[in-house]
């Protein structure tokens, strides 16, 4: 639909981005100055050394005020260079380093004279961003093939409910323990979420219902139904809402790596699964026949169609697969908590939607975005312990505010697959 008269590469359309990049570079310089100013704020109030605890009794300390001085000074220098001649291909590296400095300086300010578990903060970011990764991968799989998926929330919620419900019942089956019962539940979660996803695909493809409306429908429908079943079935029969939780499954040897071991390799199977998914999904998306066709169908379905790719079938398939992934992701709640509760996902599906976009529709990008969100969330948790004097509401805002900062400052314009949201008519 969208390819019109082919044009030469240097039309304003492709120039637009680069013009913006130029402005971006200038704005970045200004941002550094502002950030240097903000860092100066860290000079006020607290002083003393912030102690960051690591594993095995190790820790490191950072003197809050000297660090703030140092960071503010470095930022000013960086700002100068940025405005003067820019960093070229190092721009993003410099930005990342600067952000890290500011981040550490901020933490030192907040924790000056106190201590907190730095490693716990990082480990918790990894643990609790897991469902976001699954949700985002599901979203990417749909949108890469041209179907907007607002229903991630509903698919996750359904996964959480079904895995808890079926998992609990299945553990009572003859010859089946709680553990194997749990995995039966996970399977059921994948199947039912895939069914809901199929419904999304069917309504959106066959009947051309606005994909956003179908997404909302599924969200409302699943929320209503699981809440109802939760109150009428699960509450009345606690046995139907009781699965084991999956404890950490420490990976031999790797778990003993200092620092990293505890953050990455003492996690549950779901965390590892999320990482495997990202790797496998990335490989499939960019290295396989399926991936090539999927991306084509999301960008320019008619081109794919004219080459004999069955656009609609591929969309069905991918959306259904995405449903299964989201179902699996939903089971994370059951694995983590051993039970279901009304609206247990509580908007995580929408955060996952944001993660898809922040990650620029790339699995690895989504992984980074999810981790970043998880990190800011656990930073907020730590802040609330450190008696910084900030109102708890403002501390709670951290992940949301920081997401905006990251998107506005680092990610900039992100553009989805061109055909996402449009129904495809083969004739």
């Amino acid at each position: 639909m969208s390819v019109t008269m082919p044009t030469t590469p240097s039309t304003p359309a492709s120039g637009a981005l680069t013009y913006e990049e130029k402005r971006h570079a200038r704005n970045l310089g200004i941002a550094y100055i502002v950030l240097a100013g903000i860092t100066m704020i860290f000079l006020t109030g607290h002083s003393g050394t912030a102690t960051f605890n690591l594993d095995g009794g190790r820790s490191f300390g950072l003197p809050a005020q000297p660090l703030a001085w140092f960071v503010a000074a470095s930022l000013s220098v960086v700002a100068g260079i940025q405005l003067w001649r820019g960093f070229g291909k190092w721009t993003n590296v410099v930005l990342a380093m600067a952000s890290l400095l500011i981040f550490m300086s901020f933490l030192s300010w907040a924790a000056a004279g106190r201590e907190f578990s730095f490693i716990g903060m990082l480990a918790s970011a990894v643990t609790f961003s897991t469902p976001l990764i699954f949700g985002a991968c599901a979203g990417i799989m749909c949108e890469r093939s041209g179907v907007v998926n607002i229903a991630i929330e509903g698919l996750l919620l359904n996964g959480a409910f079904t895995s808890a419900f079926v998992g609990s019942i299945a553990s009572g089956w003859p010859g089946m323990g709680p553990k194997s019962g749990f995995w039966v539940g996970v399977l059921a979660a994948m199947i039912t979420s895939a069914l809901f996803a199929w419904l999304l695909a069917w309504l959106a493809i066959r009947f051309k219902v606005d994909q956003v409306i179908v997404g909302f429908f599924i969200n409302f429908f699943v929320l209503g139904l699981t809440s109802f079943l939760s109150s009428r079935v699960l509450t009345e029969n606690p046995d139907y809402n009781d699965t084991p939780t999956l404890g950490a499954w420490k990976i031999p040897l790797l778990e003993r790596i200092p620092v990293l071991g505890q953050i990455l390799f003492q996690q549950t199977v779901f965390v590892y699964a999320a990482y495997v998914l990202v790797v496998v999904f990335t490989w499939f998306l960019f290295r396989t026949k399926w991936g090539l066709r999927t991306r084509a169908v999301g960008e320019h379905p008619r081109a794919a169609d004219t080459l004999g790719v069955n656009v609609l079938r591929l969309r069905y398939r991918n959306v259904i697969m995405a449903g299964a992934i989201a179902g699996f992701g939903g089971a994370w709640w059951t694995a983590t908590l051993g039970r279901f509760n009304e609206n247990i996902t509580n908007g995580r599906g929408f955060i996952a939607l944001a993660v898809v976009i922040v990650g620029r529709w790339h699995p690895v990008g989504a992984l980074s975005a999810a981790l970043l969100f998880g990190l800011f969330d656990s930073v907020a948790d730590k802040l609330s312990l450190l008696n910084t004097g900030l109102p708890s509401e403002f501390i709670k805002m951290t992940p949301y505010l920081m997401t905006i900062v990251v998107v506005a400052g680092f990610v900039g314009r992100s553009r989805g697959p061109k055909a996402a949201g449009q129904p495809y008519e083969s004739q």
Partner: protein, 398 residues
């Protein structure tokens, strides 16, 4: 349009139709009334199965008659609860009012090419500003009420405008920023409600000071002294909002620019329009409408602010707008439908033992069927029509 049908003579002078006829042509009675009707019927049939299946106790007892009675009662309660009495109508209107405004908010952004999920946050902003004006001012209603509404528009507009500016300046995707600003607005509201400026004196719960009676929007059913008829002039404000949106997109210059920008940003630039300004403006107007929705909710329906006064209105409104195809008239009708489902759902909850959750499921079904005319056509074997138009947001795709 084509050589095949139109013979050479250019523009076979289209006969001048009276305005009214043109209007009804557009409404197209057949498609716009029969289809939704059948859609609701379909939804109710599917809903009946769901009610039956969720009536676990009776199902266990095999009490099919009982189930049928429940379904019958439910389906009588739904319309009578919403429209069967003045009280019901009043509640339908009360529910529809903020939905219209928040739906307009979504639609204005959508037609400008933006996917604005931020109505919730913008309602918070508008509501908080208007409640502040409402309880600090002590002037005559004729001054105070418009000022409070204006404050709502401005605050909501600014809150939405932030998203617009971020998008225009940095390219930050509005879906991300609106999701995030919703959370932020909710937290800010909670915090504000505990500050001295807002909190009710002598209380420690996060409930705002109260807007005095003269600062409230007047009652709609002013002739009745039944205090339970809560419908207020906010409804007229909402209708005014719809007229405004119609005027904006059908008559005004800015609206034409927004529409152009929403459909083809390159053409807008070529035509001398300013994309950055338009993005910001679209979000400002959208936010203003949602803010107005928040304001009517506060100085109309509630009289004070709570930490959750925006509820799920912002989200429901997306469905309302899409159902109404982002057209003002459509949105008013869709909001009414939602209002009916809400007011009727209350009676349904009361007169049968169907829980609220199932009422919500029913509502989702009705929305779906109305949004899927092709599905309804298939079920009722109506002959098919041209394809449905689908919205485009630049956020996704081209």
């Amino acid at each position: 349009m084509t050589a095949a049908t139109v013979d050479g003579s250019p523009a076979a002078a289209p006969e001048e139709k009276p305005k009214l006829v043109v209007f009804f042509d557009r409404i197209d009675a057949y498609n716009n009334l029969l289809l939704p009707f059948l859609a609701i019927v379909s939804a109710l049939i599917v809903g009946a199965f769901i009610i039956g299946l969720t009536d676990i106790d009776r199902l266990k007892e095999g009490d099919i008659g009982g189930i049928l009675t429940t379904i019958k009662d439910a389906y009588i309660a739904l319309p009578t609860g919403a429209l069967g009495s003045l009280g019901g109508i009043s509640e339908t209107i009360v529910s529809a009012t903020p939905l219209i405004l928040a739906g307009l908010c979504f639609a204005v952004a959508a037609r400008s090419g933006l996917f604005n999920i931020g109505a919730t946050g913008q309602m918070f902003a508008g509501g908080m500003a208007s409640v502040w004006v409402g309880f600090t001012m002590d002037g005559p209603g004729i001054v105070q009420v418009p000022l409070a509404l204006l404050a709502g528009i401005i605050a909501g507009g600014l809150w939405g405008g932030i998203v617009g500016i971020l998008k225009a300046r940095t390219g930050a995707h509005e879906v991300i920023t609106t999701i995030m600003t919703n959370y932020i607005a909710g937290l800010l509201t909670l915090w504000l409600l505990k500050t001295e400026a807002f909190q009710q004196p002598g209380k420690d719960n996060p409930v705002s000071k109260t807007v005095s009676d003269k600062g409230r929007l007047p009652e709609l059913f002013f002739w009745s002294d039944d205090p339970s008829l809560r419908a207020h002039w906010g409804f007229l404000v909402a209708l005014g909002g719809a007229v405004f949106m119609w005027w904006l997109f059908e008559r005004s210059k800015v609206g034409f620019e927004l529409r152009t920008f929403g459909s083809n940003a390159d053409a807008a630039r070529y035509a001398g329009m300013k994309p950055a300004t338009l993005t910001t403006l679209a979000m400002f107007i959208a936010g203003g409408l949602a803010g107005l929705g928040g304001a009517t909710q506060i100085i109309g329906t509630q009289g004070y602010a709570t930490e959750s006064f925006a509820g799920s209105i912002g989200f429901d409104a997306i469905a309302v707008a899409l159902l109404g195809r982002n057209k003002p008239v459509g949105i008013v009708f869709a909001a009414f439908l939602f209002g009916i489902l809400e007011a009727g759902g209350r009676k349904m909850q009361l007169e049968t033992d169907i829980p609220l959750d199932v009422v919500l499921v029913l509502r989702a079904l009705i929305v779906l069927f109305i949004a899927a005319p092709a599905l309804t056509r298939l079920i009722w074997r109506l002959k098919s029509e041209g394809s449905t138009s689908v919205l485009q947001f630049r956020g996704w795709g081209a």
